[in-house]
């Protein structure tokens, strides 16, 4: 399915080039000018496909994983900008004249093209440097969506009216079809899906404090319905609708419960920002819009893994908790080594439940806590989970073993490097990396 989707994407991306080749539309300028035109057509198709990638269609996400799709969306946005930066100079030096770049006295569609390019650069810069610019996620998302609409409509008008290549009916038809695809993805994501989610909101049935700054929010589906199907380790998007002047924002959280319990679904959330700092103020009876599941960080999706090494850092324990609970409930006969790194002992989440599962026979779980800043009296592992500690705790590379890593980016990066240095192949390392 993934290969089919990738091929389909590639076909749509070059569809303007294919149509122009089929209708054998002769160019009227130099090779450089025609190259400038061709790359712009391909770039427009890529831009038109961007909302499709970002619209969280599950049939697109499922074969690749949400992080891969979003990362590809980012890569393609940057690629389209780089390609489009070549569009005006290629055309100018290819025969249109340097005035295309420098002159103020240009037709309206040239000015529109210039504006679209400037907005596109702005969009990419705000996406790449969001944190450095101090933009909150919500503000960035609003900016991103607004710029995307302006860019897509501007690029459509510029290309539709700015060149003779659009004169043939097949090209006009293709352009309108691409615009339709873009609008369909946007409307589905921004209008239809929220409406559907609002029709059947979940209800908060429990808010439990796990540690000094970690909370578990338990959500129940609408009456008469069951929790949606998901794999242990997946995540969902949740919009808590709380009164009391608390912010209403959509956030993605890992599901910490197991699909074996169908009455409710849980997310365990750390207070790590302005919004999550209010998570403890969530009350039973509040409602929530829940969209999911997403992600491929699930042991059930890798049947080749017979044994497991789980490496968690801080709140990265949540997908492992979902998987370990699932293994316990399904009595999975397997060996699981969990390396769980935290700053202090009081930061350890699910400590007692992990100890309980360790005492049962399925799965055969061994938990190793690693504390980077231990208080006096700590008898377990201490310090950072560096390469030497990893080798000492994991031992030699094992066959049929899946190595799962969920941790803050710097720790995940160093752990994966350590695993690679130990001889663990990429194909046995599972991780999920994304930032929205």
């Amino acid at each position: 399915m993934g290969a089919v989707l990738a091929a389909l994407y590639a076909i749509v991306a070059v569809s303007p080039l294919v149509v122009l080749a089929i209708i054998r539309l002769k160019g009227d300028m130099t090779l450089l000018h025609e190259t400038g035109t061709s790359i712009a057509f391909a770039a427009y198709a890529l831009i038109a496909l961007q909302p499709v990638l970002a619209s969280r269609w599950k049939w697109i996400e499922r074969p690749f994983g949400f992080d891969v799709v979003i990362r590809f969306h980012q890569y393609m946005g940057a690629f389209a900008v780089v390609v489009l930066l070549g569009h005006p100079p290629f055309m100018a030096w290819g025969g249109a004249g340097l005035g295309l770049l420098t002159s103020l006295a240009q037709p309206w569609y040239v000015w529109l093209g210039r504006s679209v390019l400037a907005l596109l650069i702005l969009l990419v810069l705000t996406s790449v440097f969001r944190e450095k610019l101090g933009m909150t996620f919500e503000r960035w998302r609003w900016t991103h969506n607004t710029l995307a609409v302006l860019i897509l409509s501007g690029a459509f008008v510029h290309s539709f009216f700015g060149g003779y290549d659009m004169w043939p009916v097949p090209m006009r038809g293709l352009w309108i079809a691409l615009l339709g695809l873009t609008i369909a993805a946007y409307v589905h994501h921004k209008a239809i899906k929220p409406k559907v989610l609002k029709r059947d909101p979940y209800t908060v049935v429990g808010v439990d404090q796990e540690t000094h700054n970690v909370w578990t929010v338990r959500l129940a589906p609408p009456e008469g319905q069951r929790v949606y199907d998901y794999h242990p380790g997946q995540f969902h998007f949740v919009t808590l609708q709380r009164s009391r002047d608390l912010p209403v924002e959509e956030h993605h959280w890992t599901i910490s419960s197991t699909p074996t319990s169908r009455e409710f679904i849980c997310s365990t959330i750390k207070e790590s920002g302005d919004y999550t700092a209010t998570i403890g103020q969530t009350r039973v009876g509040d409602t929530a819009l829940v969209e999911g599941p997403f992600g491929r960080f699930c042991y059930t999706l890798y049947p080749e893994d017979q044994k497991f090494v789980f490496i968690a850092g801080g709140i990265g324990i949540t997908p492992f908790m979902s998987m370990i609970r699932h293994m316990r409930d399904t009595e999975k006969e397997t060996d699981v080594l969990l390396l769980y790194a935290n700053r202090t002992e009081r930061d350890i989440v699910f400590k007692s439940e992990l100890a309980e599962i360790e005492s049962v026979s399925t799965p055969r779980l061994k938990v190793v806590h690693i504390i980077s800043k231990p208080e006096s009296g700590w008898k377990g592992e201490s310090g950072r989970l560096d390469f030497h500690k990893l080798v000492a705790l994991v031992g030699r590379k094992k066959e049929n073993t899946g190595y799962y890593v969920c941790a803050p980016p710097s720790m995940a990066y160093s752990v994966i490097r350590g695993l690679r240095a130990m001889g663990v192949p990429y194909t046995a390392i599972r991780t999920e990396r994304f930032a929205l």
Binding site: L20, I23, G163
Partner: protein, 57 residues
């Protein structure tokens, strides 16, 4: 692994798109013949003003 695959795919895909664009430019510059009527392909404003007939419309 998935991210690694993605990076490899992305690089090949970008090369594919650029080659396709350059290939079309080559075809349009050197291989394709002008319309049978012999009319030059002109900018749309002039086309619209002159209502010149084109075989592909």
């Amino acid at each position: 692994m998935r991210i690694r695959k993605l990076k490899v795919f992305t690089v090949f895909f970008m090369i594919f798109v650029l080659l396709a664009a350059y290939g079309l430019a080559l075809l349009r510059t050197y291989a394709f013949k002008p319309p049978p009527s012999g009319a030059r392909v002109t900018p749309p404003v002039i086309i619209m003003e002159s209502s010149a007939p084109y075989p592909w419309t």
